[in-house]
Symmetry: C2
Subunit: 146 residues, 2 copies
DNA sequence: ATATACTCTACTAACATAATAGAGATTATC
DNA sequence: GATAATCTCTATTATGTTAGTAGAGTATAT
């Protein structure tokens, strides 16, 4: 698994929305500014996240983005997989992968599987409620921020 | 961490050399054929592995490649890191990474660190002697193969 | 000598990443 | 109903990485 800029930006944005869950919608502009993300890039990312059901939007004045689900119901793993793909270190299961002509006899497969497993255990056990709580305790100012 | 074709090929090749450790040198041609790797691509990979001290070569007739160290002294992690780079899922420590303006307040960092740790524990605890043994037990024919 | 093998540098096609650009659609408010 | 603020959507582009390919050169056992 590799987290790209896009993934990094998506996670930071969802965390921002989780920290401010219950508030008025956050505009792309503000989300971009707070996390230092190029506005036009974040536009696209938010559209993706919206189509996937992570966030919802409101148009027009007083518009912006909100989480579509409660922070406690969005895991880190879900978002990572949606943006950056499977956690497997190598896609030798995939039909497209030409490098594996000997699935049964491959001693590496069980190792890659073990790595996927341990990674999944970590990212699937963390929700954005957890992350928002940690974030608030690192910087209590966030709790009152509009 | 993502294993590329290059990494996959390097691991398979070193495993092949480990399984046949003590034999006469294996030619690029044979190594490539046995693992279904493009010959010219494997040439480059083996030169890299040689420069890094994993393998040694002999030129001319009866030439080929041998492991430069005992299989028990080469870990999976060493080879993976050499070919495919660090195991960290995101290089937010790196100076080049522009996405992190808030190292101290980032709740994700400890998570990425945890993932690197668990991955490292797996790949650094496995040597090519282990892998060769597993490989032989999966396909006993390999033990006697020239 | 010669065949067999490794050595080295350069080049390239395809794809992924990280944006940027610009026109369009919706809505609160005056 | 005009306007400003905001989201929506498609296209384009620059850069880097990956996965090779090409070809000329060097060493050595026989």
């Amino acid at each position: 698994m590799r987290i790209t800029y896009k993934g990094d930006y998506a996670l930071k944005t969802i965390l921002d929305l989780a920290v401010h869950y219950g508030d008025t919608p956050a505009t792309i502009h503000n989300l971009a500014r707070r996390a230092d993300i190029p506005v036009k890039f974040l536009e696209q990312i938010l559209l993706d996240l919206k189509r996937a059901g992570f966030v919802q939007s409101r148009r027009g004045k007083v518009g912006g983005y909100l989480l579509a689900r409660r922070p406690s119901e969005i895991t880190l793993g879900e978002v990572v997989r949606f943006i950056d793909g499977p956690v497997e270190p190598i896609i030798c299961v995939d039909k497209k992968y030409k490098g594996c002509n000997d699935m049964a006899g491959c001693v590496f497969r069980s190792i890659w599987h073990k790595i996927s497993d341990s990674t999944s255990k970590i990212i699937d056990g963390i929700t954005f409620e957890d992350l928002a709580r940690r974030s608030r305790s690192l910087d209590p100012a966030l709790t009152y921020q509009i």
